[in-house]
């Protein structure tokens, strides 16, 4: 793998990302990654707790209008995440925790997509009324998925933060 890491780390873009001493380059990517996380996890969290029975007065079917906010967050994090990875490929790709984090993200997104289909696309007939999407009409399966989604995103956040403390190599050169 080392020649591959060296190849990425020697490129002009990733050298720029790593070595530019400006708060608008590498730190900005970290800020974007936190902003995207807040939008993505925050939105999914609200949908999940509503499915679990909190705030039953919020019409569930109307929450679907906030789903795109989560996708914007995902877009921001794919963008910032790819650049963070490109800047320090050795650091991430030699750490098993990185692969765990990526798996958690993929599973969380699959779980949310299933929730999205079942709760927003399947059951809701009217849009925005108070009568549809009530807690009673939610299947136990949806509640289990919502619980799983919360656990997966919390685990992703822990995995992401712990990446800063568990890497063994920073770049291919050391």
């Amino acid at each position: 793998m080392d020649p591959f890491f060296v190849w990425i780390e020697e490129s002009a873009l990733t050298t720029f990302l790593r070595e530019t001493n400006s708060v608008f380059v590498f730190p900005a990517m970290l800020v974007l990654h936190a902003v995207g996380m807040a939008l993505l996890v925050g939105t999914h969290l609200v949908v999940a707790v509503r499915i679990l029975g909190l705030a039953p007065l919020v019409p569930l079917s109307a929450l679907k209008f906030f789903v795109p906010v989560g996708w914007v967050g995902l877009g921001v994090n794919v963008f910032s995440g790819v650049l963070l990875l490109a800047a320090y490929p050795t650091k991430a790709l030699t750490n098993p925790l990185f692969y765990i984090k990526m798996s958690l993200v993929v599973i969380a997104l699959i779980v949310f997509t299933k929730i999205n289909k079942s709760v927003f696309c399947g059951a809701s007939e009217g849009t925005g009324g108070d009568t549809d999407g009530g807690a009673a009409t939610l299947a136990l399966r949806d509640k289990r998925m919502a619980m799983l989604l919360l656990i997966l995103w919390a685990a992703t956040i822990f995995a992401g933060r712990f990446l800063a403390y568990t890497y063994t190599r920073l770049t291919a050169f050391n």
């Binding site: 708060v23 730190p27 970290l30 800020v31 936190a34 902003v35 996380m37 807040a38 939008l39 996890v41 925050g42 939105t43 999914h44 969290l45 609200v46 707790v49 509503r50 909190l54 705030a55 007065l57 919020v58 019409p59 109307a62 929450l63 209008f65 906030f66 906010v69 849009t127 925005g128 995103w153 919390a154 956040i157 822990f158 992401g160 933060r161 712990f162 800063a164 403390y165």
Partner: protein, 161 residues
């Protein structure tokens, strides 16, 4: 006065606990991120609704989510106090931290403005209805300020004194 606080904070057992292991630190940071997701997920979506997104949700209904945001805020006060007590000098004299606190004070004042001036009216904004211009401005300001808090928080490490 700041020095007194700094000495006092550093000497607390809470601060000592924060310095005890990097795993304590990493776990507390992770919880701080979970707390901010709770806060921004609820307050941010509430702000977006007031600004005109997802209008089919009545404002009063979405307001029911706010206690969850307050819970996230409480988690972050608790976890944030560990960072501050462990290494007070790293925060008190850090420009990013000072800006973060300023953003939080402004966000607090903005919340006061919302509940004193607009909430009674905002509560009545039903499905499909727009909030008043004043409420929309307060909501936009809130959205901006909380992301300002988040940005300064993430940049803390680059402004260490």
């Amino acid at each position: 006065m700041i020095e007194d606080f700094e000495m006092w904070a550093r000497a607390t057992q809470w601060g000592e606990f924060g310095r005890s292991s990097q795993w304590v630190w990493a776990t507390t940071e992770s919880l701080h991120f979970v707390g901010l997701s709770l806060l921004i997920g609820t307050v941010g979506l509430f702000d977006l609704r007031l600004m005109g997104m997802a209008k089919s949700i009545p404002v009063a209904a979405l307001h029911r989510l706010i206690p969850l945001g307050i819970a996230g805020y409480a988690v972050n006060l608790f976890t944030g106090s560990l960072f501050l007590c462990a290494y007070p000098d790293q925060y008190l004299y850090n420009r990013a931290f000072q800006f973060k606190m300023a953003f939080m004070v402004l966000a607090g004042l903005n919340i006061l403005a919302f509940y004193s001036a607009g909430f009674r009216q905002a509560k009545t904004v039903g499905p499909g209805e727009d909030a008043s211009l004043q409420i929309r401005l307060i909501a936009a300001f809130s959205f901006f300020l909380w992301f300002g808090v988040l940005t300064c928080g993430r940049l803390l490490t680059f402004y260490r004194p």
